[in-house]
Amino acid sequence: MVDNNMVDTNKFIVSHAPFWHDGSKISTRNYNIALAALPAILLGIIFYGMPAVGVISLSISSAIIWEFVFRRVTKRSNTIGDGSAAIIGMLFGMLLPATAPWWLVILGTFVAVVIGKQIYGGIGANPFNPVVVAIAILMISWKDLFDFNEALMNYDFDFAMVYPLAALKHFGVSAVDSFNAGDLLMGKQSGGIGSTFGLGLIAGGIYLIIRGIIRWEIALSFLAGVFITALIFNMTDSARYAGPVIHLFAGYTLIGAFFLATEDSSSPVNFIPMLIYGVGAGFLTVLIRNIGVYVDGVIFAILIMNLTSPLLDKIKPKAIGKAA
Amino acid sequence: MREIIKMIVVLTVLSSFSGGLLAAIRGGTMEKIEYQQLVFVKGPAIRNILEGCSNDPIVDRFKIKDGDIERSFFVGIFDGKANTVAFEGVGKGFGGDMGLMVGVNIDDDKIIGMGVTTHSETPGIGSKAQTDPKFPNQFKGLAAIEPCKVKPDGGEIDAISGATVTSRGVCVGVTDATEIYKRLKPQIAEKIQEFK
């Protein structure tokens, strides 16, 4: 080969097939998640004003800073550009009451980003949803800060500022009779900054499902699990156990179904496992709410199911040509 | 063969050495341990029941043989008079046996107080029998010679909400105690004289 073409002097990029890519990026995914969460956050900010803005922005920024610092200290590449730390911060902030003190937010994002994610090697390696881990740890440490009724006492609205699940737990079914699905969906209940506006969360969830960013199997089977379990409890003893509507639209159910349970790294990817995972999380949620000690069960239900995810994923379809 | 014999010998010697050592230490510490157990396990209940007494009831205790078992009685001295004893009865609760301490004034045969010492009831529900003073206070002033019952069984004790089994168990325990009291009253009266 002695041809002296000008092309010859150029160096070409040699890499391997395929040479096309659909252009999807981690950062795009995460920004879409942020976009989907926006309506719920906005309503939270409208309701709770500046403190909510403070909590959310502190949460996002501290999460990013923790990730930056940890990557720097461990001499690893900087990954804050992929937006996953920001998403963790955002979701964490959405679950907190607007009155959460600053140290709680910063400690929480530390637990979420560093303990929950980075020490496992960063994105994709965490066996548990970092946000859920952080909330669980803080919730068992400072129960009263997560008691939304107490935390949001100073707010005055034109609707009953009551945390439905706490009312349900402490005063029984009759205490939540006044809630109807419409009010709950419009966020007329006490709760986390971004976890009360059901309609916004549903809209965001549907957007993410359509964009293929979250797996619909998990989200829908989670809701189905909550619905069916609540219905069964309700049918066995309607005086003791509330109906499915309250369980679906109060507490962390919706944000859990669309934003927490669907976290990529801690959930299964095969079809049947995804369904089992979702239904299991929904079932445990209602079980914990009805007979466990916690007011809301979403957090621990997701943690338990995260734990089973590697096992569930062993149920997989037969690969082509694989001997049975 | 020699080896096996050696093994057996070594193990036997070792075991007997261990047994001897332990027996010796056990002998040396038995009194002390018993006292410690009384102080820390039963102590709080006893102090509670005999509140305001001028002596240390755990030091001032005596034992009476009741059939096969030895029972301990703790003496409370009020206003210089040793007229009160506290002792243990056993009731059956939700999670197994419960030990309870009952204080009785031997002058008028009335219960002056009751406290749960050991139990394995459900935390937060049955355990209220020990932690919530309302429940044990109901026993104050009851006659120490009659069986005692919860309201559902026709007695006068309000059961702890959600823990009827525990409450009933406590009543059984108190009744057990009253029976012991009835049975051993002469001996108690006799022994208690020594503390006057």
Partner: protein, 197 residues
Amino acid sequence: MAKTITQEFTKGLWDEIPPFRLVLGLCPVLAVTKSVENGLGMGVAVVFVLVCSNMLVSLLRNIIPSKVRIACFIVIIATFVIVVELLMQAYAYPLFLKLGIFIPLIVVNCVVLGRAEAFAYKNGPVRSIVDGFGIGIGFTISLTALGALREVFGSGTFFGMSVFGPSFQPFTFMVEAPGAFVCLGLMLSLMNLAGNK
């Protein structure tokens, strides 16, 4: 390469400090370190058992047939464990109540059995005692450090005394079971980090 007596002692404090270097005896480490006091108490109990059993095993090492050595070790260790149990009941009853089942469980603590098997059965009594003492102290240090960490943050106290003042809201997670695992894991990673340098 024979170590000096001092080295035999100091190795237990750093090079072979349980449970970090030798990942042994985790159960008591996790269970009794809710407070410094418990950690220290447990540590002392372990030191006693370790030193005594090491000494006895070492003294009897020529008599004990190797086939039944584990059985003999267990008898010896169990004896001293019961001694500790009895003494603790007699003189430190509240501590006994707190440590509860973990005192008798020293008998299955791999650290104790491990030292008897790996060291005392092969070395003379003086060395064995020093080794037991060193490892035991190392174990105590670990327990105390973990206990201190968990107590200070988890309850806001140190040896029962308030550290941060009344306005401090304790990080209860640290004294709960999961906190024990997480703290130990993070401490272990710090030890690894320090050891690698």
